[in-house]
Amino acid sequence: MSAGVMEIQGELAALKARLEDAEETLEAIRMGQVDALVVHGPHGDQVYTLKGAQEPYRLLVERMQEGALTIAPDGTVLYSNRRFAELLGVQLEALVGTQLSVHFHAKDKPEFQRMLEVAAGGPVRREVSFVRKDRSLFPALVSVNALPIDGISGLSVIVTDITDHKRAQEIEAAERFTRSILEQLTDPVIVCDRDGRITNLSRAAEQLAAAPSIGVKLGEAFRLRTDRADTAGSGCSAADIAEEIVKEAVRGKTVQGVEVRLAGGTNGGQHFLFSAGPLLSRDQKAIGCIVTLTDITPRKRFEEQQRILLAELNHRVKNNLAVVYSIAMQTLRNSTDLASFSSAFEGRLNALSLAHNVLTQSGWQRADLKTLAEQVLAPYRAADDTRAIRIDGPPVSISPQFVLPLSLVFHELATNSAKYGALSTSTGELTVAWTLDAGGAAEPLLALSWTERNGPKVVRPERAGFGTTLINYTIAYELDGEVALDYREDGLVCALKFLVRRADGPVLAG
C-alpha cells in the first residue's frame, strides 16, 4: 500500500472518530444527558447551564431551616424562601414587594435601618424580634450581606429563629436558679423523677442521705420509718412509704405532713414531717415530685417532755392533796385551840406554796437547793438583817419530787427555831450548809447540816411534836435518807443525809 493511501486511510479514521464524537455529543444533548454547554464567544469560552441546572441551589435555599431573602438596598423584599413566610405566618406571595422592616418589632426597626446602611461594607449580624401575623413575637438572629446580582446591588438576608435557643437559655438559667435555691435551703428537699429516682437534692438532704444518692430510689437513699396506726407500730419500711408517697405525688396529689423517722446512720432517730407534691412540666403534667423533710425532732422532744410533765403534775397534785390532808389532820391533833391550828396550818401551807414557786421558776425541771432554802427562810430574816442566817454549799439542782419534802423540812425546822430556838432571839444565828460527796460515784451523798447557835438554852422536848415527826418521816421515806436531831444546849443541830440520784433524784447543777 502506498504512503498516500495510508495517509488518506489515517485521516479517514480520524475523521470517523471525530464524527462519532460529534454524533455522541448531539445524541447526549438530545437525550438530556447533559445540562451545560461550553460556548465560544467574543470573550472566550463560557459555560451556559441549561434549564434545571440551578435546581440544587434553589432546593438548598427553599429547604433550609433558615429564612433566606434577597432585598433591595432600601429594604424591599425581592425574593423570600418559603421558610421565612412560614416563620412569619404569612403567604409567600404577600411578602415579595413589601418592606422587610414592617415585620420587625418596633424597637428593632431603627437597628435594621442601620444594618442596611452598613451591610455594603461587610456582613452584619444582630439579634432582633420579628412580629408574626398573629402579633406574637419570635427572637431571631438576622445576618445581612452584600449580594451583587448582574451589576444590581442587593442584599442577602438570613433569618435564624432562635426561640429554641432562647428557651434553652431560659431553662439553663432556671436550672441554675433552682440549684442555688436548693443549695441555700436549710430543710432537706429532694427532687425525684416519675420512678421515684432522685434527680436533685438540697445540700441539707445530701448530708442526711447515707451515700451519694443521685439516680437512687428515694426509699433506698433515705431509710425512713413511720409509726402509722395501720402498720401496727412495727414501722412501715422505708421503700414502701417513699414509693407510696411518690406515686401519690406523681399522680398530682399533694401529700402533707406524714411523720417519719430516720433509721440508722449518724442522723438516725431524727423525726421529720414528710411532704411531697408533683413536679409539673410546662404543660402542667407531673414529671416527678418534690419531697420536703421538715425536721421536727425538737418538737417531738418537747412533746415527750410535756407528756412526762403532765403525768408528773397529775401525780404531784394528788400527792399534794394527800400531804395537805395529812398536815391538816396532824396539825389539828397537836393544836390546843383554833388560833394555834390556824397559825401552824397557814405556815405549813405557805411552805408548800413557796416550794411550788421555786419549781415554777425553774419550769418544773430542777430547783436550786440554795434558792429553795433562801425562799423558805426569807420570812425569818429581819428587814435590817441583824439576825445572821447563812446559807452555804455547792450548787445542787434538785428534781421536782424532792423539792416539796425538802421545803417542808426547812419550814418545820424554821418554825421550830422561831418558836423555841435561835430565830426566836435577836442574837441567835443559823447556818444551813451542805457538802456533796461526789467522789466519782453514780449516786453522790448530800450531807446537809442545820446548825443553830446563840439562841435560848435548848431543852429536849418531852414528846415529839408533829414537826419532828414530819421531818423524820419525810427524810426517811420521801428522800430515802437519814436524819439526826441533836438538841445541844447552845442550839439545835439537825444533820440530813441522802443520796443524790442522777436520773430522778437531785443532780449536780450544770
Binding site: V34, A36, D45, T49
Partner: protein, 116 residues
C-alpha cells in the same frame, strides 16, 4: 475543584499506576444535577471495576471555562479517557453503566455488571 478526600486540587482518586492504568478526566459545570450525578456514577464504577488502577481529575469549567479548549469540550458533563490510549470521550451523566463500560473499552465487564 476541591473534593472531599482529595488531598490536593483536582485529583479525586489516585490509586497507583501500571500498564493497564486508567487516567480519566471528568469535566463538570459547578453543581448542576448532571455534574453531581456524573461524579457519583464515576466513583462507583471505578471502585467496582478499576479499584487500585485509576486516577480521576475533575475539572470544573464554571470556575475556569478556558480549560474546555484542552479537550474541545462542548457538552457537560464529559468524561475523557486519557489512558490507556486511544483517547475516548463519554458524554452525559454516566448513569448508563453499559454505555460507559463500552466507552471505556471494558466490554468484558458488562456481563458481570448485569449479574449484579
Amino acid at each position: 475543584m476541591q473534593l472531599a478526600g482529595s488531598p490536593k486540587g483536582d485529583v479525586m482518586y489516585n490509586n497507583s499506576a501500571g500498564n493497564d492504568h486508567y487516567n480519566l478526566k471528568l469535566y463538570i459545570a459547578g453543581q448542576t444535577p448532571k455534574s453531581i450525578a456524573a461524579i457519583a456514577n464515576l466513583k462507583r464504577l471505578c471502585e467496582q471495576h478499576l479499584a487500585g488502577r485509576y486516577n480521576v481529575e475533575v475539572v470544573d469549567l464554571v470556575e475556569n471555562p478556558r480549560l474546555a479548549q484542552n479537550d474541545q469540550i462542548v457538552a457537560i458533563p464529559t468524561l475523557i479517557r486519557k489512558l490507556p490510549e486511544p483517547v475516548r470521550r463519554i458524554i452525559g451523566d454516566l448513569s448508563n453503566t453499559e454505555r460507559v463500560l463500552v466507552g471505556l473499552e471494558l466490554n468484558h465487564l458488562i456481563d458481570q455488571e448485569q449479574a449484579r
